[in-house]
Amino acid sequence: AQTVTQSQPEMSVQEAETVTLSCTYDTSENNYYLFWYKQPPSRQMILVIRQEAYKQQNATENRFSVNFQKAAKSFSLKISDSQLGDTAMYFCAFCSYGQNFVFGPGTRLSVLP
């Protein structure tokens, strides 16, 4: 069974600084997808970024980028120029083709003014 690990339960960063959230996963699959979802306080979960495992190029979305290391089964999220609105729980998720999502336990990120 696939598992997703997020080793940082809580992190904080100063506004405008850069922060990296870690995620590792375990799978024997070769084709799969990785996601970072954001869940702001009392608000619904939204997609931050998506990576297809067969693509070597790291995905980027504005201030958000990933460092995808397939051999190491690592998928970290970098947030540049952190903003107060980035304060949220961040969940790393994995799914292989035709299978359900498996979520990590989450990292609570606080952006400090």
């Binding site: 619904q44 979960m45 997609l47 998506r50 969940f91 799914c95 083709y97 359900n100 999502f101 989450g106």
Partner: protein, 115 residues
Amino acid sequence: GAGVSQSPRYKVAKRGQDVALRCDPISGHVSLFWYQQALGQGPEFLTYFQNEAQLDKSGLPSDRFFAERPEGSVSTLKIQRTQQEDSAVYLCASSLELAGGYEQYFGPGTRLTVT
């Protein structure tokens, strides 16, 4: 367009009561998922529908949990004889389809408290 909606947003039930949680997915989305999220944890998969067919219910914690999607659109998660350990946020998500790693769009969740 409208996103995924869930009702009620909050539900308090006495232990032993039955509850029904509703999910309205995004129109046209084939796949619908239910998750259980305990406080401070990640969502845990409960069950999955493709149209009206329930293709995977391996995550349902007991036979007190039942889900349906009779017309391939709205879904209801029913919990019979609620127990305190059922207290959690129940999330519904929909996507265009399961295969291909499509993004799941989440609803706001229903927070169930069993007293």
